[in-house]
């Protein structure tokens, strides 16, 4: 069911130092926010865009210092650290299947932040939480064959049910997922997107927006949804540019194949977001008590 630990580690365990070279300084491996037209706000800076994203989730999850936060699929701890250090949330716990990511979180030694290497299906919290944040983890819940057979909705629904069980009444859940919009039509596009799916993120698949709309019921109410396709295109372009800037070092430390794979993957992402093959959505969910 979903990505195995070995598959997650294919996606995230090339080396923490490899990812540190081209992600933002906090190591967010997800879409940042570059434009907020409703607030007349714009940045071209990746670090600022990532902080803007983390702040969006802070507000969306209705966090405050006394609340207990669960971050499902916490990566290298960027969100945990931001909520704890920048927003004063006193208890933040993250779960991830990646041992390398967990090691990074432990190394950061952030007061109030804990993390465990654990699948969401096995997680049993000792105490309920008051807020949930989950940023691009749902892509690991179903496999491509689950989506083709229609089994994915029940897998997603189980995820939302568990988050409901882990939280107190009145909780908010701030969610972010990559969306698959339109299937490509040329051989190269199909092969490149297939490469990203099966080589870089084995065992996972992006969601359709309607998958979330169906699966949240009867546990969570969708209060807000916002798509950010061009923000993710810009994020991936920044990553690609930064990675290319470190080409010599990457090739010398991890080999030409790693560079070529990530060049192809990030270039494909930029293209796919431009062509509407992919998008991204951010959701605010309120617990149905």
């Amino acid at each position: 069911m979903g990505s195995t630990q070995a598959e997650v580690e294919v996606s995230y365990d090339v080396s923490n130092e490899f990812f540190r070279l081209w992600l933002d300084e906090r190591m967010n491996y997800t879409c940042g926010i570059f434009d907020e037209p409703s607030e007349n706000w714009h940045t071209d800076n990746l670090e600022e865009a990532q902080v803007r994203k983390l702040d969006w989730h802070h507000k969306s999850a209705r966090l405050s210092p006394e609340k207990r936060l669960l971050d499902i699929g916490c990566g290298w701890g960027a969100d945990l650290e931001y909520q704890a250090v920048n927003k004063g949330v006193k208890e933040c716990h993250g779960i991830t299947l990646s041992r390398a990511q967990h090691a990074e979180i432990m190394a950061r030694k952030i007061p109030g932040v804990t993390a465990s290497v654990c699948s969401y299906v096995d997680y049993k919290p000792a105490q309920k939480f008051d807020a949930v944040i989950s940023i691009c983890m749902m892509e690991h819940i179903a496999r491509p064959e689950d989506a083709r057979s229609g089994k994915h909705i029940e897998l997603y629904r189980r995820y939302f049910q568990l988050a409901h069980e882990w939280t107190n009444p009145g909780s908010y859940f701030s969610l972010q997922t990559i969306l698959r919009n339109r299937f490509p039509r040329t051989r190269k596009e199909i092969q490149d997107i297939g490469f990203c799916t099966y080589k870089i993120f084995p065992g996972g698949i992006s969601l359709r927006l309607e998958d979330v709309v169906m699966a949240v019921n009867p546990y969570w109410e969708i209060m807000e949804v916002k798509t950010r396709r061009t923000d993710y295109q810009k994020t991936c372009q920044h990553w690609l540019d930064r990675m290319k800037d470190h080409k010599s070092l990457i090739v010398s430390k991890w080999g030409q194949q790693v560079f070529d794979d990530y060049d192809r993957y990030l270039s494909t992402c930029v293209y796919a977001f431009d062509k509407h093959y992919q998008s991204l959505a951010m959701y605010q969910l309120r617990r149905i008590d």
Partner: protein, 82 residues
């Protein structure tokens, strides 16, 4: 101007020949596409090429239902501008 079903059938044949690099004889609407030796990847490429040539878009959820040439012609015909 909308093309006739006969024209769409001919367009499928020429597009398939170009993409799969194989000559097809006596294709009719009842022909099952997979029996022409066209796999799902080839089918997607043919659909994509016909979409670009006709300036239409077929929704992704219809693609799995296209088994015969008639299915494809039906899908294309519905989306042609009148």
């Amino acid at each position: 101007m909308a093309r006739s079903r006969q024209d769409l059938l001919a367009l499928f044949q020429t597009t398939a020949t170009e993409i799969v690099e194989k000559e097809f004889k006596s294709i009719t609407e009842s022909t099952v596409i997979s029996e022409l030796g066209i796999d799902s990847l080839g089918m997607l490429e043919i659909v994509g090429s016909m979409e670009r040539q006709l300036k239409i878009q077929i929704p992704d959820e219809m693609l799995a239902g296209i088994q015969t040439v008639k299915d494809l012609v039906d899908a294309v015909e519905k989306r042609q501008p009148e």
